[in-house]
Amino acid sequence: MTALEERTRLEQGAWDALGTVMDPELDEAITSLGFVRGLREQVDDDGARSLLVHLRLPTSFCSPNFAYLMCSDSKDALAALPGVGRVQVELDDHHDSDLINRGLAADAGYKGTFGDEAESDLEELRLTFRRKAHTAAAERALTQLLRARSELGEHDVHAVRLRDLLTGDARDALVRRRAALGLRVDDEAPVAVDDHGTPVAPSVVGMWLRRARSTRISIDGNAHFCRGLLATRYPGAERDQAPRDEGTAPVPVQLLTRRPA
């Protein structure tokens, strides 16, 4: 990949645009996961400035639906850049590379790319993982708060509002994920809510937090596995990856004290 200092202005803009493309399953940008293998500006015969991007994934058998989503989201993000001509996104070394790359080149869309295997669209899939990302983000922010405020227990979190959370990355990430789902982001909004924004009842909020924790652990664990596999498959890829929190920081004793009835 072109080193940062050697990037053209368009390439830097393209990199930033790719930074908005998320791996929905891992809830992380493809740039920080090391999935962007190459990014190059070239001047076409007609003088237009085009972009050529290569993406790579941890295995040949990563889910084709997520692979397609990341590729088509990348193409959309790049095509929206001012002053860009042709945009070519290619997925390398995947079992469906040929299929996906043909579909991308022809702007065939999801159904046009996968034919009979596609039923309607991938929006429901995207929504499923946005919801998981929101649940995990809520758990991170609440666990951070519980760690800082020893007088609070897990059964008190139904009363926590956005304004009560510690300021910082965890709170910001939660607000972004709430916004992505169309949930309230005002200071008075309760944090422990379901996928639709309905507050979780105090009687089950401890269990809700516990379940949210398993969602967060699942997402974080998958991310670590996928990052490791990418570096095994493409030696040196780890240098393109931004650090990710282990997600395993200690939590206070009072989180264990009461099991759900």
Partner: protein, 354 residues
């Protein structure tokens, strides 16, 4: 058997394979991609001293018995084959070779077979013949297996149900399920375990062992396991994190223990992706880090159950009396939701929490 600090452990490896991915057996590029993916799993998560050469990894029948029973402390192991007929000329898992080994060493090896409901009536006939010839106690299903234009199926498909009903009738009570990435339509999450939930509710006399404990959907798996007492967790793929990411491994085990207790979790090396020797040694030495106070510490009895006693009970494999654990109900961590509760009630209680 493994012994450490005066304690003896009965070892049942609930997921092993004998595959052939040598070039002459590859049907197409996907066979190569598949074994390369496995080899990356192996290289990424094995300690350096335990890594095999690529050529050795393609086929290894000469060392299987030694790796498992001489070096690996394993008392009994269960074959869980993947057929992958679209990728390999003679299949990936070597049915006849594995079955012959199991016949030669019935005290050490159990052969589980595979079926594919998309073969419909013809496959069902074959399953009946196989069940009789192989005296099957279990099957391994890979729902993302490609076949013709199809790249996967669900357990709730009508033909899947007919096969499960045949399993009931034929005494094949253990259904091992491995979820994979391709399932039609691609609109939805292929790793979703909801179909396992449905059939576990409908076929309560069958046991559903979810391989790699539902990873990459651990949370969804834990959720169904709290509600379905006939759902089990196989630790294939999860085990080797004990080396590369012990804190993550602690979280996986901790979550499983919290949601389902310690009697429905099975040790699996996923041999030959990983070898059992180092996994058994590390697991016996393993403890949840003290600062991770949201999880219970693993007791010796818990380790004994996971390493062998749980799966031995499911497969009626005899375990010497001195390797059993004394019944100590108080020491058994209770699952978060008691499976004794009526299922419908349990589900209603959680309604609105998703």
């Amino acid at each position: 058997m493994y012994s450490k600090d005066g304690t003896d452990y009965f070892i049942l490896d609930a997921h092993i394979a004998l595959w052939d991915a040598r070039p002459e057996n590859l049907r197409n590029v996907h066979g190569k991609q598949f074994i390369d993916c496995f080899y990356d799993y192996h290289r990424n998560l094995s300690p350096e001293s335990e890594q095999w050469s690529y050529d050795q990894y393609l086929y290894y029948s000469d060392r299987l018995m030694k790796d498992l029973f001489e070096d690996g402390y394993v008392d009994h192991a269960i074959f869980q084959p993947a057929i992958l007929g679209e990728f390999y000329k003679n299949g990936f898992g070597q049915t006849e070779e594995a079955f012959a080994l199991a016949q030669a060493h019935p005290d050490k090896l159990t052969y589980n077979h595979a079926f594919d409901p998309r073969f419909e009536a013809k496959g069902l006939e074959q399953l009946r013949r196989d069940a009789e010839r192989m005296d099957l106690k279990g099957v391994k299903l890979y729902t993302a297996e490609w076949q013709g234009d199809s790249r996967g199926y669900k357990l709730t498909d009508p033909w899947s149900r007919r096969y499960l009903e045949a399993c009931l009738e034929l005494g094949i009570k253990n259904i091992h399920v491995h979820k994979g990435p391709t399932i039609r339509p691609l609109d939805r999450d292929a790793f979703d375990v909801a179909d396992i939930d449905a059939v576990a509710s409908d076929y309560t006399d069958l046991n559903f062992v979810v391989e790699h404990c539902g990873l990459p959907r651990l949370e969804d798996f834990c959720w169904i396991a709290t509600q379905e007492p006939n759902v089990y967790a196989g630790l294939a793929v999860a085990m080797p994190f004990i080396h590369t990411r012990p804190r993550y491994f602690a979280q996986i085990i901790g979550e499983l223990m919290y949601w389902m207790g310690d009697t429905r979790i099975f040790f699996s090396s996923d041999y030959a992706i990983w070898t059992p020797k180092w996994l058994v040694e590390r697991f016996v030495d393993f403890q949840v880090p003290e600062d991770m106070t949201d999880y219970a510490q693993l007791t010796t009895d818990t380790k004994k159950r996971i390493l062998g006693l749980n799966a031995a009970a499911l497969y009626d494999i005899p375990v010497p009396e001195h390797l059993q654990v004394a019944p100590e109900p108080a020491a058994v961590p209770e699952p978060a939701v008691s499976v004794a509760e009526p299922r419908a009630e349990g589900k209603a209680e959680m309604a609105g929490m998703a």
